[in-house]
């Protein structure tokens, strides 16, 4: 798994490269937009982590250029620009995810894993199964061990997201972003309270437990520890 990190701040770059290498990724580093574009077009990467503000060629233009050249490698934008619009412009330019600095490394790692699992543009799955838990998107039915489980609409979307990322750590921010479409952090424990209800419905009385809390990182839906 090869990752290209385009980041001009040496300390952040070292933090990213070191952390990702520790996790077993092979990481290449570029310190400006032009080098980043050159590397991204000449070598094969599974994921590009690109800072928005770069010398010589800014991250947004870099990604637009890549997409115009039909290079569909997944892109994770890193930015200090937490503006309301920045997220939207970043995603519109062809970014696949958007992470605002400062961030916890666990958050970055979870997103890297989520992005690198599938190539871009896979066809939509409509049926998910983890152990004896099944979710059918078309019929909007959830079953555990053959028993149908009634879920609230938000709980359904939460479970759908967890099942799409089964086996991966999903952070609270990822859930807020994707399930609630909140691009800010409400102080009330919205995620926790929904998750505990979902857990009660999915796991209570069944074995094994499927929804796990990963300390300091987030949640994970998987069959075994």
């Amino acid at each position: 798994m090869r990752i290209l990190v385009v980041e001009d701040d040496t300390e952040t770059a070292a933090y990213l490269v070191g952390g990702l290498e520790e996790e077993g990724y092979s990481v290449t580093k570029a310190v400006n937009g032009r080098d980043g574009l050159f590397l991204a077009t000449t070598e094969n990467f599974d994921l590009l982590i690109i800072d928005r503000m770069l010398p010589e060629l800014d991250g947004l233009t870099l990604v637009k250029t890549l997409r115009a050249g039909r290079i569909e490698t997944s892109v994770l934008f890193l930015t200090t620009m937490s503006g309301i619009d920045d997220r939207v412009t970043g995603l519109n330019a062809g970014g696949d995810d958007y992470l605002v600095k400062p961030f916890a490394f666990a958050e970055l790692l979870a997103r890297v894993k989520a992005l690198s699992r599938r190539p871009r543009g896979t066809q939509a799955e409509t049926h998910f199964k983890v152990a004896d838990l099944e979710l059918d998107l078309l019929k909007r039915v959830v079953k555990r061990a053959g028993h149908e489980i009634q879920l609230q609409p938000r709980e359904f979307r939460l479970l759908e997201y967890l099942m799409r990322h089964a086996g991966e750590v999903v952070t609270r921010t990822m859930l807020l972003d994707n399930v609630w479409n909140y691009h800010f952090d409400p102080r009330t424990n919205v995620v926790e309270s929904h998750l505990s209800r979902l857990r009660t419905k999915i796991d209570k009385g069944y074995s094994p437990e499927l929804i796990h809390t990963v300390r300091g990182a987030g949640y994970c839906l998987r069959a075994r520890d």
Binding site: I84, D85, V88, P102, Y182, P186, E192, H194
Partner: protein, 450 residues
């Protein structure tokens, strides 16, 4: 005001142009009057000569042809004052009577210079060939007409000079008053540039364009002063409010260094420090966001948002959390309400309000979310039956970092309501904190026409 400056002002130049137009008007008026008056006077003289001739002929017809010289003599005497001249010649050109010595016998209307009483005068006259072959000339001195035209020229000349002087004087006065008012705006802005933000452009109270301009400038200055004050306030608050957590962080790190040989304690201290840093960063994030919303530069234009669905979604999202706190969320939302707004900001506003209600109210509280269509506005309200905010504190809590004594211990940046206020302002909505008796009711009224 120095003369050169006066000459450079556009108002003075405008006045000069006006003066020019006035002068032109006077000249045209003069020309027209001159032509009409001379025309009229000429015609009058011609008519009078014709009437005189008719009179003489009529009198001669009554008294007999032979009396003609006497008739003429009497006419000469009668019309001495208008300086009329008469000359009667027989067929051979010998003078019979008249107050002219001699002249060529011109037939028809004529204008000639004649020697009368030793002076050359311009005469308008008419020569007639009488039936018996005699020649009669009746003439009139044109000096009356000349005097009249002289008078007209003089009158207009004086008028022209007066007009010009008045126009220039008026222009100078007007441009001085205009300049004076513009200069007062200039003086004010200059003082402000120098740093005195409390300066205002004086109003005259006449409600004219200059007053309107001054009002506009003053309103702008009010806004700037407001912004400056809040900026100063915020930077003070930031400095003050961040010192506390940073001090705590420093203490924690210092303690950690002293106990560096206990790995577990060190781990805990580091984890705590990271949490502390995160909360500081979060404060900065919130400040940035407020600044961004207040600055207003947002690319995506507001779109029609289905508020009913948005509010219902938030109720659904927060109901479990409220339940976990032993609270209850009730909703009273009109169906299919749409509002031209920024969806994300609107969501964040309601979420912040609900957040506040949940976190600052004890178990057993009922939180109500309302969306109501009013006559020309839309009211969105979040109320709770919690402890509420005392009336004198309601303004304060909208200020960044302001926290009530009772909520000092509750986690939070103290920026939630500032953000709500910024979002409301952004949508031209009126935010009010009311007594829910008991509890707090936060109402945001959006104008629908906007």
């Amino acid at each position: 005001m120095p003369a050169t400056k006066l000459l450079r002002t556009s108002s003075f130049r405008l006045t000069l142009a006006y003066a020019g137009v006035f002068v032109l008007c006077v000249l045209v008026l003069f020309g027209v009057s001159y032509v009409f008056v001379t025309d009229y006077a000429t015609q009058d003289e011609t008519d009078e000569i014709a009437v005189e001739f008719d009179d003489i002929q009529n009198e001669a017809a009554l008294a007999g042809e032979a009396k003609l010289p006497q008739i003429i003599d009497s006419h000469i005497r009668l019309r001495k004052d208008v300086r009329a001249v008469y000359l009667l010649l027989d067929a051979q050109g010998n003078k019979i009577t008249g107050n002219l010595d001699a002249m060529p016998p011109v037939i028809g209307p004529t204008l000639m210079s004649l020697d009368v009483d030793g002076r050359f005068r311009t005469m308008r006259g008419h020569g007639y060939k009488l039936d018996n072959g005699d020649y009669l000339f009746i003439g009139q001195d044109t000096s009356t007409l000349n005097e009249m035209t002289d008078l007209i020229v003089r009158a207009f000349g004086v008028g022209l000079v007066a007009t010009l002087m008045l126009a220039l004087l008026g222009g100078a006065l007007i441009s001085r008053s205009v300049l004076g008012r513009i200069e007062s705006v200039g003086k004010t802005t200059h003082a402000i540039v120098e740093g005195d933000l409390s300066q205002r452009v004086p109003l005259r109270g006449s409600g004219d364009e200059f007053d309107e301009l001054a009002k506009g400038v003053n309103a702008m200055l009010d806004r700037i002063e407001d912004l400056m004050r809040s900026m100063r306030q915020v930077s003070n608050d930031v400095a003050h409010d961040l010192r506390t957590p940073l001090t705590r962080l420093r203490q924690r790190l210092e303690r950690a260094r002293l106990r560096a040989n206990d790995p577990e304690e060190l781990q805990d201290a580091l984890a705590n420090s990271i949490t502390q840093v995160d909360s500081i960063l979060e404060t900065f994030g919130a400040l940035l966001r407020i600044a961004q919303i207040e600055a207003g530069g947002r690319a995506s234009p507001p779109a029609a948002v289905n508020v009913s669905r948005l509010l219902a979604g938030i109720v659904e999202d927060f109901a479990p959390a409220a339940e976990d706190h032993g609270q209850r969320i009730v909703a009273e939302i009109d169906k299919d309400l749409t509002l031209s707004a920024d969806r994300e900001l609107l969501t964040q506003m309601v979420v912040n309000l609900v957040d506040n209600a949940i976190r600052h109210s004890p178990p057993g509280t009922e939180i109500s979310i309302e969306g109501k269509l009013m006559e020309d506005a839309f009211e969105l309200a979040v109320s709770d039956t919690g402890p509420g905010i005392p009336p004198h504190e309601r303004e304060n809590v909208l200020r960044p970092f302001y926290r009530l004594e009772a909520s000092r211990t509750t986690e939070g940046s103290g920026l939630g309501l500032s953000l709500v206020a910024a979002i409301a302002k952004r949508h031209h909505a009126k935010l009010s904190l009311l007594d829910n008796a008991p509890g707090l009711r936060v109402a945001v009224v959006f104008p629908l026409a906007a």
